[in-house]
């Protein structure tokens, strides 16, 4: 089923991303044992210049990972009418065992690339490359994950056989089926809503506190990470239901479609930005003690904290709006 323009584009892009991350990894392997900033040797100079290439390549990989995440879902959605019973991306992704693992790995990769770009930014703001080792170790991991990701994607596309009967999003996330997604959708909406709102208030409150005092970076990061995952679960459990105004429709993908005004884009983008910024605050906090970063990191954390506030506030607004302003009431169904 690879003979489809979008699938071809995703495969080619994924291979290019592997090449880019792989090149970064190779550079890391060359740099780590030989790095010596006090040397003015031509080799050191060449390595330093190559770090710019690595940054640019990884920047490209990050952009690709984010854009292709949405493209992947859109392609799966487009292909849904090839499969009996599949009504949107949710159904297409269950056609074989590679679909959801590929998607989850893509999300993980996008988040990791986002965090990498933050570390890289901190590193370039210091005069002595203090994070070079951390950075290139992380590139090795990203490269490995990119290879895994394209492997899973190839597995998914190649094994996409249009005759398999699949479940549509109505049955995959329907509450009478024993699957993990079904279990998540089955979470009692009232309880989930309460945990969600408590966490939203908690994470925003923590971010405000951090913004004013600069303390509690680790807690904020953990809370952001927790909220990121909880928000994805909540989209399954009740946010999507309120947006669709259908008590049985728990699909996280249809939000990205025209029928719902592409509301999924601002929803997911704000969640990703807030989540990555929040986790980034904690990650950067580990390097605060390094001499050349003592000024840079608090500055960055301050800005990231503002990003967390804006991101999660926007996400919260989009999620809460239909709950407050539509006639639809989930409670009671």
């Amino acid at each position: 089923m690879w003979m489809n323009p979008a699938v071809l584009a995703l495969i080619v892009g994924g291979i290019l991303a592997c090449i880019a991350a792989g090149y970064g990894a190779r550079l890391g392997i060359a740099i780590l044992p030989n790095w010596n900033l006090t040397s003015g040797s031509e080799r050191q100079l060449a390595m330093e210049r190559k770090t710019y290439l690595a940054s640019a390549l990884l920047g490209w990989v990050m952009m690709f990972e984010f854009l292709s995440l949405f493209m992947f879902v859109h392609t799966a959605d487009h292909l849904h009418d090839l499969f009996v019973g599949a009504m949107c991306a949710a159904g297409t992704l269950t056609v074989n065992a590679y679909g959801y693992p590929a998607l989850i790995l893509k999300i993980l990769n996008a988040v990791l690339c986002g965090l990498w770009v933050l570390i890289n930014h901190a590193d370039t703001r210091a005069p002595d490359y203090p994070l070079i080792r951390v950075k290139y170790t992380a590139v090795l991991i990203i490269a490995a994950l990119s290879v895994m990701e394209i492997g899973l994607q190839l597995g998914y596309w190649m094994h996409l056989d249009p005759n398999v009967i699949t479940s549509c999003c109505g049955t995959l996330f329907s509450t009478d089926r024993q699957t993990l997604a079904g279990d998540l959708a089955h979470l009692p909406p009232v309880g989930t809503m309460m945990v969600f709102f408590a966490s939203l208030v908690g994470v925003v409150g923590m971010a405000l506190w951090f913004y004013r005092t600069g303390r509690g970076a680790g807690v904020l990061a953990v809370m952001s990470g927790w909220f990121f995952i909880l928000a994805l679960i909540s989209i399954l459990s009740f946010i999507s239901v309120y947006i669709y105004q259908l008590p049985t429709h728990h699909c996280p993908f249809c939000l990205l479609q025209r029928e719902y005004g592409y509301i999924g884009y601002p929803l997911y983008v704000s969640l990703f930005i807030g989540g990555i910024a929040g986790m980034g605050i904690g990650l950067l906090n580990r390097f605060k003690e390094i001499d050349s970063l003592t000024e840079v990191i608090p500055q960055m954390q301050h800005r990231l904290c503002l990003t967390v506030l804006i991101g999660f506030a926007l996400f919260g607004t989009i999620a809460v709006y239909p709950i407050l302003f539509s006639d639809f009431r989930l409670i009671g169904y």
Binding site: T38, G40, S41, E48, R49, T124, A126, P127, Y129
Partner: protein, 233 residues
């Protein structure tokens, strides 16, 4: 104070065509003075100036500018250093053709992202100070050599540098224009800037505003001369 300790620079190290451009240079250059590095071509003037200006790194040795050790700075910080602390005037002026005089002057400030209105005002004022403000909107290729050099001076000053580095600035100028250039440089020294010139033009070496002449040959300092009649810090 710019301090150089035991600077040497080898090109193509470890290869058959290895060549030592500088060898064991130790110097301290007080601020607010005009210093000329004199010597024939190939004596290492240009290499020395580019190492002081953060364009190249020495193979061995250390450089301090004020209390900042620049030898082991990252590329990015060397770029910042060049942009914020130094102004360069090149032998061939190296203005960018096809854009206006004003844009050429503003160019070095772009990466700092200053407010456009302020930057433009600053650039026009600098052009006025080198008496070329009437050409601000012309493309640089319409200018004569002397005018181009004045644009280059304005460009070198746009980021308020402490130090001006000029490499063979009088090579393409007649005596009058060279004199005018040196007058501008003297004016800059009087306003507190440090001026470093690399030149083998006797006109420059003997110019009355020069505080110190350092002669180089084959990458080594062979003679230093202070102007006795001028106070030296």
């Amino acid at each position: 104070m710019i301090e150089l300790t035991d600077i040497s620079k080898t090109f193509h190290a470890g290869k058959p065509n290895a060549f030592m451009a500088l060898e064991g240079i130790t110097l301290s250059l007080p601020l607010g003075r005009m210093t000329v590095f004199a010597g024939p071509s190939g004596s290492g003037k240009t290499t020395l100036l580019s190492i002081i200006g953060g364009m190249a790194r020495p193979t061995t040795g250390r450089i301090r500018i004020g209390d900042l050790e620049i030898t082991s700075l990252s590329e990015r910080f060397l770029s910042d250093l060049r942009r914020n602390r130094f102004g360069f005037i090149f032998q061939d002026y190296h203005l960018i053709r096809g854009i206006t005089v004003l844009e050429n002057v503003m160019l070095p400030a772009y990466p700092s992202g200053p407010v456009h209105r302020d930057l433009k005002k600053r650039a026009l004022k600098l052009l006025e100070s080198v008496q070329i403000e009437d050409k601000a909107r012309s493309p640089v290729e319409w200018l004569s050599g002397g005018e181009q050099q004045r644009v280059a001076i304005a460009r070198a000053l746009i980021n308020h540098p402490e130090t001006i580095i000029a490499d063979e600035p009088t090579a393409h100028l007649d005596t009058d224009l060279a004199g005018a250039f040196l007058k501008i440089m003297t004016g800059l020294v009087e306003s507190g800037k440090t001026v470093l010139i690399g030149s083998h033009d006797p006109l420059v070496v003997e110019w009355k505003g020069v505080h110190r002449v350092i002669r180089l040959r084959d990458g080594r300092i062979v003679e230093e001369k202070m102007e006795a009649n001028l106070p030296c810090g």
